[in-house]
């Protein structure tokens, strides 16, 4: 474990300050009727970092992921990835650029085994669709098993995906995303539905694998312990805007965040005020 004490830090490329952002969103706006799901979102995600997004339900967290991955088109603003604009591209084209995503509910193919799920991701990445070729060809089987092994899922490879418990389903879902070899992975509540007893184990596993694979991650999370332990920075979403952005140690002590997002009354004392936004990041 490194000095910071974060699991998986040994293999990580720490967020590279001063380098160009991997993902950059500017002025994103999107309203559903009178509800502003994005009201001027500016955000940079740096290569190698783990950015947590927190905020109350309906704040626009998932909307941001949907806009970034091509599922929703903002009414205004721009998004660039690796210096290239990606707005208007289809979800499939965005995946091909190197942006993966996982959903709040694991999107596993329940008719398939865990191994087939991973192999499908590898096949999709390879872009090969020979009509009568087997899915589990030796090279893909080997690679799929290797991916599953990294997530501790190898013993479950032969099980149908709908037979997994929630923790394993979450890991399998993210294993599929990792099999696509993304450089940036956006995860919508990767621990939702996972039993409290296995939550930290699930997160430690996925953080370790993502760090090893040098994947930059943005994840929506409601568990502040997870955010504090695993995020490099945290962005607080509120009514379609970023209300605060910075290291968890700072942001999670902010009285407004404690009161409005976490739902606890801040300790009395001198007002701390909102942390300043970090220049160059958002």
């Amino acid at each position: 474990m490194s000095a910071s004490g974060r699991p998986g830090d040994e293999a990580v490329d720490r967020p590279r300050q001063g380098t160009a952002p991997l993902l950059s969103a500017r002025g994103l706006r999107l309203a559903f009727g009178g509800v502003k799901a994005a009201d001027g979102i500016d955000l940079d995600v740096m290569p190698g970092e783990f950015l947590a997004i927190i905020g109350p339900n309906g704040a626009g967290k998932t909307t941001f992921i949907n806009m970034t991955t091509g599922y929703l088109r903002p009414q205004a603003g721009s998004i660039s990835y690796d210096g290239q604009p990606i707005l208007g591209l289809s979800p499939r084209a965005i995946v091909a650029r190197g942006i993966g995503r996982s959903f709040q509910l694991p999107q596993l193919f329940t008719e398939h085994t865990v191994l087939e799920n991973a192999a499908l991701a590898i096949a999709a990445r390879a872009g090969l669709w020979s009509p009568l070729a087997p899915l589990l060809r030796p090279a893909w089987r080997t690679e799929a098993m290797a991916v599953l092994d990294r997530f501790g899922l190898a013993p479950l490879a032969g099980q149908r995906a709908d037979a997994l418990n929630e923790g394993a389903r979450k890991l399998a879902d993210i294993a599929m995303a990792v099999a696509l070899q993304p450089r940036l992975l956006l995860m919508d509540e990767p621990t939702s539905g996972v039993a409290a007893a296995e939550k930290m184990g699930v997160v430690e596993t996925l953080v370790r694998v993502l760090r090893e694979a040098k994947v930059t991650a943005v994840f929506v999370e409601h568990d502040m312990e997870v955010v504090e332990r695993f995020a490099d920075r945290v962005a607080v979403w509120s009514q379609g805007r970023i209300a605060a952005l910075g290291p968890p140690a700072t942001v999670l002590k902010d009285p407004a965040v404690l009161r409005d997002v976490i739902g606890i009354e801040p300790p009395t004392g001198p007002p701390a005020g909102l942390p300043a936004r970090e220049s160059g990041h958002a």
Partner: protein, 311 residues
């Protein structure tokens, strides 16, 4: 009961043999309908038109081959060729020009659009082939008949209906099950059926899979029609009769069930055939009596699992 059986052995035998051949044809159409519904989530009423156009095309092509002096066995090639042509031409045309515009729309709208398409294609058939019966039974006559012993009786039955039709249906069943469960393309089709959004998130070209699946389903319907063409005179309305029976099969089996569709086709084919010989006034309603009886007891169908399995 024993006396009744002794008196009706011949009719019962004929009913069973006819039912088997009929079930094979219904299965070909129903399994394509099922596959298309699984991926497109559209109940395609126009599927019956593809059966009818497959039948008419096969008959026309067979007659053309015969007129051109080709050997009689070329009639079998005409059946396969007609099905492939109808699937390859009409399949992409219908999917691209019509169905693609109504994905995700309300079911009522989808039903109306595919019904309108069905009506248009019915008129296209009348425009091309007229309303007089069209017949090309050479492929069936060519193979001759075989004597099937049944009790003390012998039933001469066409080899085409006894072996070719059930054989092709069985090969389709086995081939389709293997294709969907073992091959890359089959697994991708099942993945899109299970969760289209997740498939797209993975980078799978869902539009391409949809087109491929619809074309394949259309070819299966056309193959059913082509295989049926030597066994009957083709008249306007055969598409409607077939699609309604196919719906009954799919609903009775449960959506997404391949093996279930085969067994249900057999059940409904035999039920209808027995009615034809023993209670002709019930011929039309027997399949639906079976369907309603099953759905009252098992709304998900005989082999369906509620909201889990679609292919």
């Amino acid at each position: 009961m024993a006396d009744w059986l002794a008196d009706n052995t011949l009719l019962l035998g004929l009913a069973l043999l006819d039912g088997l051949a009929y079930a094979a044809l219904v299965f070909m159409v129903a399994v394509g309908l099922n596959l298309v519904f699984g991926v497109l989530r559209i109940v395609n009423v126009a599927h019956g038109s593809l059966f009818a156009i497959g039948a008419y095309s096969a008959a026309s092509l067979g007659l053309a081959f015969a007129s051109a002096g080709l050997p009689p066995w070329a009639g079998y090639a005409a059946l396969v060729l007609a099905a492939a042509l109808v699937g390859a031409v009409l399949g992409p045309l219908v999917e691209r020009l019509v169905l693609r515009r109504i994905y995700g729309q309300e079911e009522v709208l989808q039903l109306l659009v595919t019904f309108a398409l069905f009506m248009i294609l019915e008129d296209v058939q009348k425009l091309i082939w007229g309303v007089q019966p069209v017949s090309q039974d050479l492929p069936m006559k060519l193979l001759g008949t075989v004597d099937v012993p049944f009790g003390d009786d012998v039933i001469p039955f066409t080899i085409y209906q006894l072996f070719v039709l059930p054989g092709v249906a069985l090969a389709t069943l086995i081939g389709l099950a293997w294709f969907l469960r073992r091959t890359l393309t089959g697994r991708v089709i099942v993945a899109v059926t299970t969760d289209k959004e997740a498939a797209m998130a993975m980078g799978i070209d869902a539009a391409r899979v949809t087109l491929l699946t619809f074309t394949f389903g259309a070819a299966l319907a056309a193959l059913g029609g082509a295989l049926a063409s030597p066994t009957t005179s083709l008249v306007p309305g055969i598409g409607a009769q077939t699609i309604v029976l196919s719906f009954a099969v799919v609903a009775t089996a449960g959506l997404g069930q391949i093996e279930g569709a085969a067994l249900t086709s057999l059940l409904i084919g035999l039920g209808r055939s027995v009615a034809v010989y023993f209670a002709p006034e019930f011929e039309v309603v027997v399949p639906y009596i079976i369907m309603v009886a099953v759905l009252l007891v098992r709304p998900q169908g005989l082999f369906g699992v509620l909201e889990t399995r679609r292919v």
